[in-house]
């Protein structure tokens, strides 16, 4: 036993230089490194590279930042780009202002002590998250369809018939409606993350609060919420990345043109349209690459800003 321990120790502490080339490390790392590099890193770099070129006849030629200049300034492009960026920000704002508070509220209710049936609620509330965008998009398209008439009938039942409009077909409502549909689909994930964070709050802290007479809603705002800020930060940044990268729901519900009149166009649909072409638009891989690069800059910029400015200032309590 002792000799075993000594040998083990010797193995662990031998300096790296004296060891022979350890093949097993390479073997363990190789598959992951190869696939990740070849299918993710190289294409990303290639996309960045393509955005500095433009097709002139047969040969792509280097044009420097001209594509970005076109994207941000040229009449035909700039309008679409800024529109998509604005819509995307609005789409994210809906998630931040509706989904996150709702998720925290539901998580707080689920984590109440002696909450009966919380297992059932949890399972049911998480269900929409399991469905694909395709299903979600079409399900809501049917439900909101004036043809089927479910929504007007429901509004009629509560006396609000006058509020009905073909929500997905009107420029002023379409994006908001899609935002709420997306919230319907995704609130399960922030709910679960907040729920997990609330469960990890030790009972002693909550009991101490109860003894001090801090219960119910006051307890939530004074004890649980401050402990929850780091989790909320993570939720916000995850939501940001997935929103600025989303495409599927709008493509399914509104098509490639993100209608009506581009009112639901976000960066993902703009990228798809530019890269693959659509009605009245030729495909342009180089402009597509430029849009992808802009998206990358936006996402990385916000994530880094978050890590440097927000993450560090969040107070973390040692529980």
């Amino acid at each position: 036993m002792t000799s075993a321990a000594i040998r083990a120790l010797a193995h662990k502490q031998a300096p790296a230089e004296q060891r022979p080339w350890r093949w097993h490390i390479a073997v363990f790392l190789a598959p992951a490194l190869l696939i990740y590099t070849a299918v993710m890193v190289v294409p990303l770099v290639e996309t960045l590279r393509l955005s500095f070129f433009q097709n002139a006849g047969q040969q792509p030629i280097f044009v420097g930042l001209a594509n970005f200049n076109t994207l941000l300034r040229d009449e035909r492009w700039a309008e679409h780009f800024w529109n998509a960026l604005y819509n995307n920000t609005y789409f994210f704002a809906i998630h931040l202002l509706v989904m996150v508070p709702l998720a925290i509220l539901l998580a707080a209710l689920l984590s109440l002590p002696r909450m009966r049936g919380s297992g059932f609620y949890r399972t049911a509330l998480f269900m929409p998250t399991m469905l694909s965008f395709v299903i979600v998009g079409f399900v809501w398209k049917l439900i909101l369809s004036p043809l089927w008439g479910i929504t007007p009938d429901l509004l009629d039942a509560v006396g609000l018939r006058s509020l009905f409009a073909p929500y997905l077909g009107r420029e002023e409502y379409a994006l908001t409606t899609l935002g709420f549909i997306s919230v319907w689909q995704w609130f399960g994930i922030p709910m679960m993350l907040s729920y997990a964070a609330m469960l990890s709050i030790p009972d002693e802290i909550l009991e101490a609060a109860e003894i001090d007479g801090i219960v119910g809603i006051a307890q939530f705002f004074k004890i649980k919420l401050p402990l929850l800020w780091p989790t909320i930060g993570v939720i916000a940044i995850l939501t940001f990345v997935s929103n600025f990268n989303s495409f599927d729901l709008i493509y399914t519900a509104q098509g490639t043109l993100a209608g009506p009149n581009f009112s639901t166009d976000i960066l993902g649909t703009l990228l798809y349209r530019t890269f693959f072409g659509a009605q009245l638009q030729l495909r342009d891989p180089h402009m597509g690459a430029a849009i992808a690069t802009m998206m990358l800059i936006i996402i990385l910029g916000v994530v880094c800003a978050y890590l440097f400015f927000v993450q560090r200032k969040l107070v973390r309590y040692q529980l």
Binding site: I35, L44, L296
Partner: protein
């Protein structure tokens, strides 16, 4: 706190939860319910359960005749399972190398993988398509499997590394003393201990793969390689006016996911919550 007040409070809590549970489930129930009704009943009384008079399977029969949902389903299943297995196996191997051995590029390699958590792979689509065209992998399931493995690896390595640190060094060293090779230690000692973490990774990886529309649409839109998600999208797009078929196609895509979810929901939710704490 008086009993009356506390029960009023719990009643409010149940009320709110029940309301949102209803909102979450009602659309799904509505679609599945109407899929079993005749065309007239769908429009005349959409809120009613199917009765013997309105019961009709016409939607399902036409979907099964017109769409190749069997092929789509097989494609989705093969792609998801192989990509999942690849992600977990390669991810665990890399995580093992990164936690177990000290070597020169250890930290750099770790950071290199971490970068992938923040950068969405979709932004490299232009480059990915170019590579797949050059290697003539377009319209193959292999292309999708490779992309999904690359997409899942960074997160898998991140989660598995965290768990890998908890495996006792004594156990591994005891294995070395008994003459096990490094590969045998990984397979026989480390992998079995990592099973809970692997479930967690599987959950995080599986749902986005199964539900993805972007890469199937771009890399494998051919009839032979369509996934269920893409197949349903195209089918519904073509039969928009045939409400029976559309509702039936939606139900057919919902029900397998629903069944799987109900079977695994306990482990799945535990996986998400434990992954979150980690």
């Amino acid at each position: 706190m008086s009993i009356a007040r506390s029960s009023a409070r719990s009643l409010t809590a149940h009320g709110i939860l029940a309301f949102f549970t209803f909102l979450a489930l009602a659309p799904i129930v509505l679609i599945v319910m109407n899929a079993f009704k005749s065309r007239n009943a769908i429009f005349a009384s959409p809120m009613a359960l199917p009765t013997p008079e309105t019961f009709d399977l016409i939607g399902f029969t036409s979907v099964l005749q017109q769409g190749q949902f069997g092929t789509y389903f097989t494609n989705s299943l093969v792609i998801t399972v192989v990509a999942l297995a690849g992600t977990i196996l390669f991810g665990a191997m890399a995580a093992f190398a990164l936690t177990e051995y000290r070597f020169r590029f250890n930290t750099v390699t770790g950071l290199f993988f971490t970068l992938g958590i923040m950068v969405p792979i979709r932004l490299g689509t232009v480059g990915i398509l170019e590579i797949m065209v050059r290697t003539s992998l377009v319209n193959t399931r292999t292309a999708l499997i490779l992309v999904y493995i690359a997409q899942g690896l960074p997160m898998a390595i991140f989660i598995l590394t965290e768990f890998m640190r908890t495996v006792s060094a004594d156990l591994k060293n005891a294995g070395r003393v008994d003459g096990l090779s490094e590969y045998e230690i990984f397979i026989w000692l480390v992998v079995p201990l990592l099973r809970p973490a692997m479930v967690s990774v599987a959950v995080f990886t599986m749902i986005p793969i199964w539900n993805d529309l972007w890469f199937p649409l771009i890399l494998a839109p051919g009839e032979e390689t369509k996934t269920l998600t893409l197949g349903a999208q195209v089918f519904i797009g073509q039969y928009v006016t045939d409400w029976n078929s559309v509702l039936a196609a939606l139900s057919l895509s919902i029900l397998p996911v629903l069944a799987l979810y109900l079977v695994f929901s306990k482990g799945l939710i535990r996986g998400i919550t434990s992954g979150a704490i980690k």
